[in-house]
Symmetry: C2
């Protein structure tokens, strides 16, 4: 095994899975999805479809972050905010920020990496258009890698191939890789149709519109 | 709330809980214990007893690390090694090392810290006599704190007041704080009696013997 891909089922991690499968044979790639009590559990099905499409092993790890709460995505008492409200909180961190989610996920991915003998952990982190999450920046990835180089047995490393890309660039790169967009799911609400109003929907639309690509997910549900 | 203490129920975290309660009123301290599928689930009961003794709020977070395996503590197919075998593995990391456990726990503790408005996370990490775990060193704590200062919303910080202490020093410090040792549990086996052979038992014995203190847990079961 060569690479573990943290696969949410959204557009970014779909591109990263395609990226990993462009470098390695599918038998050397494993996808890791978290069932963390997210409101949009529908994305887990999207992840399953994507893993099946790329013919990679798929681990679904259950960790119930609703035990912690504190986010619109894991606490049913907090509504998913519309895009502008989400990002206009006074401390500049989005209401849809799930406390420490990415660090929890990377730590668990690194544990699997150690057990499976894998050195490379791929994530879809991107900063420019992701909207105010502190745990998607290049400096964060560097700090996590420093921590892993000290505090793990096998020193796996986190890669974030999309980190300097805008959403438009991510869609363009995904097009080059022939990502099956129709299998991905982004909307935080997780209802039958994308809401078109949450941060994830707005950023997704921005990417596809800017890249002049039709988003089959939106089209499918309109 | 001022402090969150990661409380396993073992001797080190018992001392750290006492340390936190010597600084803050018990209503400002919360203990966090992980039910992670450990072989010695008995330590969770020890943690409950300790939290009750110190009259602090107690959160038990469930995250099933047997989904990952790879350690004598979370994989029933791997026997708990005797002390010497545990530490003589060729790569110098103990068989009882649970992949990325401390990082997973700190990430979750930091998430609770953010939700509860807490800035300080206390751990019982100590390096000198802990026996070859990479994630208990001062350099690891520094790296984790750097990561938290970048990748979290509220930048909680990890404190490891025992990190430069030997087991003997930890017992002596615990004596000063009047730690109720009889409520703690260390043995990895988690049977009725401490096995007296695993890394945890050996280190515990070393500490009490060196400090010239009777360990009521061992006495109780002998």
């Amino acid at each position: 095994m060569k690479a573990i891909v943290i696969l949410s089922g959204g557009m970014d991690s779909a591109v990263v899975l395609a990226h990993a499968c462009s470098m390695y044979e599918s038998k050397h790639v494993v996808a890791l999805t978290f069932d963390y009590g997210q409101r949009h559990a529908k994305e887990i099905n999207a992840a399953k479809d994507l893993a099946r499409f790329y013919n990679v092993e798929h681990i679904i790890f259950a960790v119930d972050l609703t035990q912690i709460g504190g986010s619109a995505l894991t606490d049913k008492s907090i509504s998913v905010p519309e895009f502008k409200k989400d990002l206009r909180k006074s401390d500049h961190v989005a209401l849809s920020y799930v406390p420490m989610r990415n660090t929890i996920f990377i730590a668990i991915a690194a544990a699997f990496a150690e057990v499976l003998g894998i050195q490379e952990i791929y994530t879809g982190f991107n900063w420019i258009d992701s909207g105010g999450y502190p745990d998607t920046r290049k400096s964060y990835v560097n700090a996590i890698n420093r921590m892993l180089s000290i505090g793990s047995r096998d020193r796996p490393k986190v890669f974030a191939p999309l980190i300097h890309m805008t959403k438009v660039q991510i869609v363009k790169y995904g097009e080059q890789l022939h990502v099956p967009w129709h299998l991905s799911w982004s909307c935080y609400e997780g209802n039958q149709h994308p809401c078109g109003k949450c941060n994830a929907c707005i950023q997704r639309e921005k990417g596809f519109r800017g890249a002049n690509v039709n988003d089959p997910v939106v089209k499918r549900w309109k």
